[in-house]
Amino acid sequence: MIIESIKITNFRQFYGDVYLPFSTDNERNVTVVHGANGSGKTSLLNAFKWCFYDQTDFDTANENILNEAAIQDSDDRGFIDISVEVVFEDEGVRYGAIRKQRFRKIGPVSAEQIEQSKFVLNVTASDGETNRSKTPSADLQSILPKDLQPYFFFNGERIEHIAGVNQSHQIRDAIRKLMGLEIVDRAVLHMEKVRNGYRKDLCKEVTAEHKNILDEISALENDINLYGKKVTEEIKNKESAESDIFSIDSELKLYEKSREFQARRIKLDEQYESNKSNIDGIKSEQKALICKSGFLLFSDDIFDKCNVLIEKNRKKGVLPYGIKEQFIDDRIEIGTCICGTAVLKGSNEHTCLLETRKNAGSDDLESSYTSVSALLKVRDHTVSEHVNSYKLLSHKLKGLFDANDEIRKEVGEISAQLTSTPDDRIAALEKKRTHLHKSRDNAIRDGGIAESDREQAERDKVSKELLKNSLNDQIGSQNIANKRMDKASSLVDTLGKLRESLAQQVRKDLSLRVDETFQSIIRKPVRAIIDDGYKLQVLKRSTTGEEYVVNEQSTGERQVTSLSFISSIIALAKDKHGRQGPFFQGGLYPLVMDSPFGALDDDYREKIAGSVSELAEQVIMFVSNSQWEGKVKLACEGKVGKSYRLVYHTPKGVEKETEYVKASENKYEYSTLEEV
């Protein structure tokens, strides 16, 4: 997909018509729009979102998207239209996406929306014939899915959350949608329906008992699906709460009155997690200890009996055995006793040796006697050593639990202090944070319960399946409905495995790409991966050679990590695009970014600017004039096909006009675009 142009009419800062063609040159695939703060860069990004999806990310959503000058310039009760038209090309077909909305002026600077926005999609085929799509939203959806818009149209200053907290679900979802895994997802759902259809057919032909089992299996499958959905939903809730907590924590670091508290809380949280990890380690040690020698504590009776038996036999002289069987066998075979007497077969000496052999001990018995005797001698010592080791671990465990209790108390105290602070903003943030924590804990608990219920339903289903199989003989293995139902059932399992296998393969490919991009930008000796659980992690190697997860990254570093992820997923989708095969769809997607250099330092800005053209097939970026000038401009100038300056016209009057800010020629406030 290549975006050719956007035409904006009366949208936010743009009064009247503003036309903006983008670079469609393969070599110079970057279009840059630079302007002062408040001149309309974010509005340009939102113009795309509004046109395609009737959605914006302004604080007031779509409420104030109508340009004020257009209202002021209109007659009382007059109509004012707002529209955005995006022209783009995809797979040789040209599209014109247009969204319009009509307002009526009801006050000097206010207007009411009089109808819902209307969306049309004009489709021009390669032969030049143009038709209006009858299903414009669905057609657009197939080219640029709405769920994926955060990856094509994003605010660079707000993307760090992707790498900031646990966003595994979001990442897994992006992989699923961008890589065409949706095909397999849908196949699983439909195959389940097909299986259920065959089951209904089978129910008509079997006994009441058989039918009951089939119904129970069906109900269990339904439960498994519902519990699965619940688990997914709770994971999303947990991640959403964690993402919001992360944003609040970042904000609390900015205020002077909360900064120290927040820094202390982060340290405490880290200590808490470290203690938790040590607790898990000690619990494992305790388990190993119990497995190795726990039986000693419960074997007193057996040991006592054994002791009595051995002592009794020892007193009788039976134990330990003086002579072993092998020794006597050897003498008989050699034919002489150790005293030199000949031992001939049938002689008295021979009979005597055979009699002695009956009371001789075997090697196995001797060795058992030796080890049991040894164990009995050290039993008390071993038990006491075992108990002491266990007590020591329990003591350590208690220390860690106590430490975490203290941490919890201190964290609670910090929260109480922040909540009661006179600064309303901080207090409100902390209250929200507390609420989010509860939501997260609830999500973890509810997700765990649902997972456990799902596992139980799975086990119940296996039992019922066994019962069903035993009844199959009664209807005959050749029953066609039964055969087809079994086939559909096994294919549901196969498709499930295929889905996981595909997702893991894409994850591995993507992980390598993310790291490649990440390494080309990041300064530190770290690497980025998407781990088995679909978490975007940054790893560092310790001096002992072990890799560990870097939890504390700066906002700039998180932006680099997130940008690496987004550009990699777009690059991988491009690679998969057009390949033959049943699974991957892939696709060609543009990258439209507002403030991509937001929190980055000069060095990172320069590096990203240098490689920005490689991030996607087409890159459109909106940057502030201060970010654009200097190293950024120099680094990406060779790749820029079109460059525009956003000029803000202010009615306030300016002492000295600049390229970016000019006095308004009329009484209105608006922005215009100038090609540079």
Partner: protein, 60 residues
Amino acid sequence: MKPAELMNSLSVEDQKILNGVLAVEKRYLVHQDLKAGSSVDKDIVSAITNIIDKVVTCDN
């Protein structure tokens, strides 16, 4: 197991059905907001049922 290995480990019969099913899903992928029980949803289920009916018969 990698996707290709998984596909190759299946019987010819299963491979035939799976490829047919995936082709049906690919064809209907343009319908993004697919509602359960909608006519498109029913069409897909029917198409998959036909594939299985043709492959799994009384003779095999």
